[in-house]
């Protein structure tokens, strides 16, 4: 089964806290870059690494560049069960 949106959003929020970015008003529509959370390219690379660590894969390494949090969630929604990381 694919990751739940709650799991993906929770991972993103964990990254935002660690990166000292504001979570206020963050929603699926929130833009990741200028005019939204304001991620730099390095922030985005670090988000990609966190997503990969937590969820087994990340959209950025697949050449997909999401513009919003919702697009990251959609990426995982569209993944099949094969994307689920192995149980510890």
């Amino acid at each position: 089964m694919a990751h739940t949106s709650g799991h993906v959003e929770g991972t993103i929020r964990k990254f935002l806290r660690r990166a000292k970015k504001s979570e206020d008003g963050v929603s699926a529509q929130t833009r990741l870059y200028a005019g939204g959370i304001g991620l730099t390219s390095l922030d985005t690379a670090e988000l990609a690494a966190v997503l990969e660590d937590e969820l087994g894969t990340d959209p950025f390494s697949h050449g997909f560049m999401p513009e919003t949090i919702g697009e990251i969630v959609d990426f995982y929604d569209k993944l099949g069960p094969e994307a689920e990381p192995a149980s510890p």
Binding site: L42, A45, A48, A49, F60, S61
Partner: protein, 281 residues
């Protein structure tokens, strides 16, 4: 790197200690050096960079100079003393302002310091004859606003001089992803920075009503700086370790290696731009 030592509103004693450690690492002037032979001491090379900025600025006594990102005021005070100009230094660090005001105590008002943002400085139009931006622009994310503000506060015929680290090529996102630990090390050591090509500064200057006089690529001539910084780290290991911590010192040394690699592979470099405000027709 004038503003890389900003520490917000931390106690002055801590700020002094950390700034002192950065002086041991980067040299008294806290910025890159421009080397002629490559063999000269760092302090000669940092003075050479300042000298290039001074020459590009065409300073003369009585001019009003704005120093954007003035750090703790050392360059502003030196300019006021050596060239008889009136300098207003601005920084977003209150501790930096306080330290700079103390430093300027004997200058009879020729150097003053205020808490202001270079990208929204609040001065009236056409207040200054010169705007001086020495290694602070890479820490200001809104480069468009910075150049607009610099141009706005210049009098017609006034001159902007700026030097900084530059980006020499596009860095694709997949490369940032792959090299993120290197970029993160630089951020940890020097703060959140964004480098732009020298040509981008020229484009913004033109758009802001300035005529670019010179673009000077100093990449090769600043390259020996990293060797000197590493040597300083080794020489002052114990003192710097106390002030910055072992992790801070380690991050600095690794940063020297990473930056040197970026200089050599054509990713980053160093440049100077001078531009003159057009006369109103």
């Amino acid at each position: 790197m004038n503003d890389t030592v900003q520490l917000g509103h931390e106690p002055a004693e801590h700020y002094d200690r950390v700034t002192g450690a950065w002086r041991l690492l980067l040299g008294e002037e806290l910025h890159y050096g421009v080397f002629e032979s490559g063999d000269e001491p760092l302090q000669v090379a940092t003075a050479a960079l300042t000298g290039q900025m001074v020459a590009a600025a065409e300073l003369r006594p009585g001019l009003d100079v704005l120093d954007v990102g003035c750090g703790t005021g050392a360059p502003a005070c030196a300019l006021a003393s050596a060239h008889g100009v009136h300098v207003v230094g601005i920084t977003t660090s209150q501790v930096g302002v306080d330290a700079a005001r103390l430093r300027a105590a004997g200058l009879a008002g020729r150097a003053s310091f205020e808490l202001r943002d270079g990208t929204d400085n609040g001065f009236a139009d056409a207040t200054f004859d010169r705007v001086w931006v020495l290694e602070s622009s890479h820490l200001m994310p809104d480069r468009v606003a910075l150049l607009c503000e610099c141009a706005r506060v210049l009098r017609p015929g006034g001159r902007l001089v700026l030097c900084d680290i530059t980006r020499q090529r596009e860095i694709p996102f997949q490369e940032v992803l792959r090299r993120r630990l290197e970029f993160a090390t630089l951020r940890d050591a020097f703060g959140e920075a964004r480098m732009e090509p020298l040509g981008y500064y020229a484009e913004l200057a033109q758009r802001s009503g300035l005529d670019v006089q010179e673009l000077r690529d100093l990449t090769q001539r600043t390259l020996p700086t990293f060797d000197r910084w590493r040597a300083n780290a080794a020489e002052h290991d114990a003192e710097v370790r106390v002030a910055l911590g072992a992790d801070g010192l380690d991050a600095f040394v690794r940063s020297c290696d990473i930056l040197e690699g970026f200089w050599r592979d054509g990713t980053l470099g160093y440049g100077l731009i001078s531009a003159v405000k057009r006369d109103v027709v």
